[in-house]
Amino acid sequence: MSSLAQSQLRETFELNIGPQHPATHGVLRIKVVMDGEYIVRAEPILGYIHRMHEKMGENRTWNQFWPNMGRLDYLSAIAYNHCYACLVERAMGIEVPERAEYIRVITAELNRIQSHLLGFGAYIMDLGGFTPLMYAMDEREQILDLLESVTGSRLTYCYFRFGGVYNDIDDDFITGTRAFIKRFRPQIPMYHKLVTGNVILMDRLNGVGPISADLCRKYGATGPVLRGSGVNFDVRRNEPYGVYPELDFDIPVYHECDSMARYMVRMDEMVQSCRIIENALNKLPEGPVMAEKVPKALKPPKGDFHFAVEAARGTFSMRTVSDGTNTSYRMRLRSPTYSNVSLFEEASRGMLLSDALAFLGSLDPVIPEMDR
């Protein structure tokens, strides 16, 4: 980097943001070359909690790989479960009972709300406001309690199974979920009043970190990042899986392309998730929650299979190359934040440090998912 400083005759210096930094929510390291308060180059450096999940996929049997799926994006684990379940079901041709599909959608959307709540709280905390995090945490706890009562764990769910779900939901869960949504709905306008409308926050987010739709496309950014840039793309709508086609919901899209747009997409998605859950609860059919004939020893046919779902942070997709044995020959996990953060380097050039961190927060990275 010294060559850079010499070649341009500019007083630059290098700064580490991370791996142990309050703003990076984990062990992400960003090596920043700065010119005063401005960023000349910000290079994200990954790998601090790299676990080689892909190799694990080659060594573990299909069933044994389940717990890994909860440990990628620990904040929206159910979407990842969903992807893996659907992938293997696609490969094996397993039909899933309808009730199980509905339960999948309900839990996945609850999980999405939970993830966005934490993302919202943590983002505002990045910007220095601590209180909204606590309010968000309060709501999040309610969701965790609900999910715990049905899945048995609070964070790294391992709830889905090939051909259905592990446990049926009971009436307590249904009434609890309805009560939660009733309670949660008025909270979002409260957040908007407390946080979004705040002039300080608007100053910090409006126009900060612009990403054009084309940049998103080039970098494969998905999820709220893409929808904040005005592209109406959501896997749930464009490549429907589960029972999403039967449910009624909108895809929030903002055209401002800035951090505020991404933040607003997340906030609106929570409302839409509430709608989906209510809708699904109303339509919830009776019946079994597991497919009847699921072989104990899974051996999908040879060939490769791909499946994509909409996780809280964007398109999560898996590609597995099966060689017909009880383990996969190659397991590839495409995590949304990996692509989203990869555009940070290009998009943050020339930003102020504080803006860059606000921008990074608006990408809502979850580090274990990036490092895999």
Partner: protein, 189 residues
């Protein structure tokens, strides 16, 4: 210039709204649970570490030491030790060791268990500074006062003894008997 003042006024208004909201929250009851003094009730489905189920009929576990949990475990954190005893049908469980430090609570073992001998416990506030404290012998946990001896079926015992006698007499058959894994106690590491 009017924009300048409008900015100030809307800004101040938004700030006042924020203050109003936090003020309202200030007078609502806190939701904190004073953890060591009070604790939440766990839902029945809570997945703590696994434990052996006590069969109300026999008063002991139902494990047949088939080893399915061991095979299904992704992290290999379960070790089942069992031996063959004279006069007892099947294998006798001597130790069921769970290395909780590597357990990921996925539930594969519980699903794989045919006789439904293991289940999730509701224990969640485990704390220790030593690693060894998390290597549980579940059998001991089930029977802290001492593992009851399995009942000996006299008929089976008689049969087995007879078999042994026969085996002694016929060394040629010995190997075959061994292969079946019935006559010798099986040790697992």
């Amino acid at each position: 210039m009017s924009g300048y003042f409008k900015e100030i006024i809307t800004g101040l208004k938004s700030l006042a709204i924020g203050l109003q909201i936090t003020n309202k929250e200030f007078f609502t009851k806190p939701i904190t649970l004073q953890y060591p003094h009070e604790s939440v009730k766990m839902t029945p489905r809570y997945r703590g570490h696994i434990e052996l189920v006590k069969d109300p009929q026999t008063g002991t576990h139902r494990c047949i030491a088939c080893g399915m949990c061991e095979k299904g475990c992704p992290t290999g954190c379960i070790t089942v030790q069992a031996e063959k005893r004279e006069g007892v049908k099947g294998k006798v469980l001597t130790a069921y060791i769970l290395n909780f430090t590597t357990c990921s609570l996925c539930g594969q073992c519980v699903e794989n268990c045919k006789p439904e001998a293991i289940n999730f416990s509701n224990e969640y506030n485990l704390a220790s500074t030593r690693r060894e404290d998390y290597i549980f012998n579940l059998l001991q946990k089930l029977h802290p006062e001492g593992v009851p001896e399995p009942e000996i079926d006299p008929e089976l015992l008689k049969k087995e003894r007879e078999k042994k006698e026969a085996a002694k007499k016929e060394p040629a058959k010995k190997a075959a008997a061994k292969e079946g894994g019935e006559s010798k106690a099986e040790e697992k590491s």
